[in-house]
Symmetry: C2
Subunit: 398 residues, 2 copies
């Protein structure tokens, strides 16, 4: 392991948080507001050690054999209960996370060169999974409530190839943090249904609500689980290293996916992990963890938002998101986003340019509050404010 | 859970071995020689409980975050050491088992309608993964040493679409148990190399050698890790519920696969499981387990082989395999295999017809000795012998 890996750096990494073991490690000294990761201190090591031991005690050797193609029934039954009627275990398939689910959908349900409609800005790696699978992406205009129904209708009715599906991320949208309201969800569903085109609802952040107010129903629930494939994950609410998530859809769609012989051959994706999480759901430990995690993330969101509000120049604007991992900061008067990202990097803060996620209407950057402690987020906000004070576009002296 | 699930049946299932939790459960009273599964009693529950605890102690929160796209370096380094030079960690990618690896290869490296050359008989579900991914399969003749090089050459040189790759299972071949000798491996590699067509070497059973004599080098090693993608698995040597395996290939091919954004988004497939197995490899516990497992499987193979030899009519022939999970029994004078399978089923023994795996030269059935204890295998052999005494083809009385 290299010297950069051995240096603990300013992050609260505890043990072995090296580039050889984890996917991304910020250079020492950097405040990394880049990745949509949970802070190492928020990953429940002891809880999961117990969960694996409990699963092996409860299910014994059955936890180590091949699981049913669509996943162990105890987990699917608990998830169906959480999702509520009309959802049944037959509506659910266990996956190795939403990334895996997107790859399965792209390769099993659809074909290379199929067209997917995506949001004007959206989860960069999710759409890259679809593109790497040979699908062709077309962006559809958004406003402050999400994808614009009239724009979706124009895209669906346009001459040429009929789009195969619509990929949406309506709940604590990555990167903007937007929570698409119920009315807009219904409008989008009505347009998609009128054209007979399914919706893939990526709800990876759905469990990370940070306000006490009510949540809109999922698009899957609003549709009665017809014409929508909803994706859920334990990567944001427990730990991404589990590689555990699920998809919920009408039973015929679930049956089509789980009939692929990759599951006949290998069984349920990630069987032991699925039973470990089953024990956490069954005992209520998962919900207790979620309560704690939301509180910790609320503190992080509020620390970043407060320090930015107090210090950023007026041309910077952001909404405090109701959930998820991200603040989306837009700035008027910037030449482009690269100046913001570069100035941040020169102040040892890593942020992501909005252009990475599509074509934002105004220069924007995404700041993750999930990966650093509140004091570090406050410090990072001060650095950003100082760095960005002088980036405003200087008009030519004419 | 249904009544059939609750009845423990004659299998040595311990806890919760129900159809809701595992993929396949034999009806109560059946001796199941069907699936290539490890007997529940051979699945190391305590060993793996310790391995997960050790991985979480050793790697802490890093075991719960996103792993590097191609897998955590500690595991890839240990695997590279086991495979020997010229293999390096850059030659290896961690997968969720060989099934997952086949799906990745089929969808990332190849395209729908590509042609794959497969053995005359071979792993049914593996080739079904390729077929479900849109590939077209063409069978190539085998003899007692494996695929016939001259037949491979004819298939590669035939008019029409050039085959995209050759799918082989040279070590303890499923279903025949065949161990392709070194000379034949080299001949097949030379033919494939002459046509510039890669070989996918499915070596899921490579760790399950049951004799003291030496093993031939893998085709990947013989090729110097050029033009061969070798697949390995911990499903047969530890537990399939882990969903953990690997592929080894030239670094450029590994780089192509791990560059798919499904890994940028989700990280290493099955990160925590990979670090649990890392601890078992690093401490030697894996090799101690393998020694014990091989001994247990040797007892099973020998119990089944001895009871069949002593009791089957002379027209039944089989080789005692040098490794793997299966006995391949061929029979002269049978009308077809269905008669054998039906007679076995009527005696409450489940066996698989050879036709499931391709086009055997003679009527054949596959018997797994991995899934039952030695006394139960002996009892099953007696039942089979009795059931098959009277199935011989009766010539028309003309």
């Amino acid at each position: 392991m290299g010297a950069a890996g051995k240096a603990a750096g300013p992050l609260s990494h505890r043990r072995r948080w090296y580039p050889d073991v984890v996917q991304q490690v910020a250079p020492p000294g950097t405040f990394d507001l880049g990745p949509g990761y949970l802070d190492p201190g928020l990953l429940p090591v002891d809880l999961l050690r117990g969960a694996y031991a409990d699963a092996l005690a409860e299910f014994g050797s059955a936890a180590l054999s091949y699981g049913p193609n669509s996943g162990a029934l105890p987990l699917r039954a608990l998830l169906a209960d959480r999702l509520g009627p009309p959802c049944t275990p037959d509506h659910i398939m266990v996956t190795s996370g939403t990334s895996h689910a997107l790859h399965l959908i792209a390769t099993i349900l659809f074909r290379r060169h199929d067209v997917v409609l995506v949001e004007q800005v959206g989860y960069d790696l999710g759409r890259a999974i679809l593109a790497d699978s040979g699908l062709r992406l077309r962006a559809v205009e958004m406003d402050d409530s999400g994808m614009v129904p009239e724009a979706l209708e124009r895209a669906l009715g346009a001459a040429g190839d009929t789009p195969a599906f619509v990929y949406l991320n309506p709940t604590f949208h990555n990167p903007t943090g937007l929570l698409v309201p119920s009315g807009r969800r219904r409008e989008l569903l009505a347009v998609a249904a009128a054209y007979g085109v399914p919706v893939v609802e990526d709800d990876a952040y759905a469990e990370i609500g940070l306000t006490r107010s009510g949540m809109p129903d999922s698009m899957a629930a609003l549709s009665g689980y017809r014409g929508v494939i909803r994706l859920g994950s334990f990567s944001k609410s427990l730990a991404p290293g589990l590689r555990l998530g699920w998809l919920a859809a009408d039973p015929e769609t679930v049956a089509r996916i789980q009939a692929h012989h990759v599951f006949d051959s290998g069984g349920s994706p990630n069987h032991l992990a699925s039973l470990a999480v089953t024990t956490l759901l069954a005992t209520g430990a998962y919900d207790r963890h979620l309560t704690w995690l939301r509180s910790a993330l609320r503190d992080r969101r509020d620390a970043l938002a407060a320090a930015l509000s107090a210090n950023l120049p007026e041309r910077f604007v952001f909404d405090r998101p109701a959930g998820g991992f991200f603040l989306w900061v837009t700035a008027d008067g910037e030449r482009d986003e690269r100046g913001l990202v570069t100035a941040a990097r020169n102040a040892d803060v890593r942020v992501l340019a909005g252009g990475r996620f599509g074509r934002p209407a105004r220069p924007s950057v995404r700041l993750a509050y999930s990966f650093n402690s509140p004091p570090r987020l406050t410090a990072a906000a001060h650095r950003l404010a100082a760095a960005w004070k002088s980036t405003e576009r200087r008009l030519p002296c004419s």
